[in-house]
């Protein structure tokens, strides 16, 4: 006698197997589309995979906590992957060292632009103060951004959402902006993507070239540290 399908569902929805498997399936489907599009940035695999998963979880009334119990195994690899960024950084270090001045100046200018322009635009269109402050660290990698939001009076969970949307926007839009600027150097393109849209931008940069990826990784690390140190100071001067 076979058990009813609902019983199997009860088993599956309580086990981490399902969350892990649908994450990999959704991503591979998304990556297949991305490949088919000729790595078109509009077909960003994070965007597509997240959309598939959110629809799937909503349709099956599965909670995010249940899903994450399985997906955490993928999530965990972000740590070692971040450490692994040291390898391309080392490989590209000769070029990084020869570009020390543009890298540092671009970092400071980009970091301030990311935070201050986000606040300014939000204020202009009438967002509340906690919302403005939640936006300020949006270009920084999630764990740092949430810490900053907490310190400056933003809402950390709102910041987490804004960080992800920023990452996707940068990964999707950067090519069009750089092409319009007639900018070809992969070091500049990679670094600017890393400053503006952290890890999700860095992932996109790696798919295109190792040099762009290495500069994006460098920018992500430096911008995280600089924003954490600088933003609370800048905001206290402004008040």
């Amino acid at each position: 006698m076979t058990p009813p399908i609902s019983e199997i569902w009860v088993y599956l929805s309580a086990s981490p197997l399902l969350g892990l498997t649908i994450t990999l399936l959704a991503y591979q489907g998304a990556f297949w589309l991305y490949r088919r599009s000729g790595m078109n940035p509009l077909a960003n695999p994070v965007l597509i995979a997240v959309t598939i998963l959110v629809l799937l979880l909503t349709l099956t009334a599965t909670s995010y906590e249940t899903y994450f119990a399985g997906a955490q195994f993928v999530h965990f690899l972000l740590g070692p992957a971040t450490v692994a960024l040291a390898v391309p950084l080392y490989t590209q270090f000769r070029r990084v060292r020869s570009l020390l001045l543009p890298v540092l100046a671009g970092l400071v200018a980009g970091s301030l632009t990311a935070a201050l322009s986000a606040i300014a635009v939000a204020r202009l269109f009438g967002a509340s103060l906690p919302t403005q402050l939640s936006l300020a660290p949006k270009s920084v990698t999630t764990p740092i951004a949430m810490g900053i939001a907490e310190r400056i009076g933003g809402i950390p969970s709102l910041t987490a959402v804004l960080v992800i949307i920023t990452g996707i926007l940068g990964a999707v839009g950067a090519r069009y902006i750089f092409d319009a600027m007639k900018l070809r150097d992969p070091a500049i393109r990679g670094f600017a993507i890393g400053v503006a849209s952290h890890g999700i931008g860095t992932a996109r940069a790696f798919q295109v070239s190792e040099q762009a990826g290495a500069f994006a990784a460098l920018a992500m690390g430096l911008n995280g540290a600089l924003t954490a140190l600088l933003l609370p100071l800048v905001l206290s001067w402004m008040q």
Partner: protein
């Protein structure tokens, strides 16, 4: 692969411990990246295994953002009240950051550095 993965985890652990110990504003893995970089500089480069494993891991870096990205479903209602100023702010500010960073770098680029040395396409 196993030895390389172990190495990465050891450096991450080192980063977490130091970040907590000195209460630095930088997450452990970012510090671990710095430590591994220093180790590579001392050792004169990664071995084949570490090179291959990190390349594999980074090739699918975007996969690793998917579980956190799906978390957007829990917090999407926070965006609902003020979605227009939020959207405008994100789009304009992200574009401005890309443009300003790139322009400043381009202006300060040393003259002799041939742009895009060797590699073809860029993001």
């Amino acid at each position: 692969m196993l030895a390389a993965l172990t190495q990465l985890l050891v450096f991450q652990l080192l980063g977490e411990v130091v970040a907590r110990w000195l209460t630095l504003p930088v997450p452990g893995p970012v510090l671990g990246m710095l430590f591994l970089f220093l180790a590579l500089a001392l050792r004169g480069g990664p071995g084949h295994e570490l090179q291959a494993t990190s390349q594999n891991l980074l090739q699918h870096l975007s996969l690793l953002f998917v579980p956190a990205g799906a978390g957007i479903m829990v917090h999407l209602h926070r965006v609902a009240d003020e979605w227009l100023p939020l959207l405008l702010s994100l789009v304009i500010s992200t574009a401005a950051t890309l443009v300003v960073t790139a322009l400043v770098m381009k202006l300060l680029m040393p003259a002799q550095a041939a742009p895009g040395a060797a590699s073809g396409e860029a993001p």
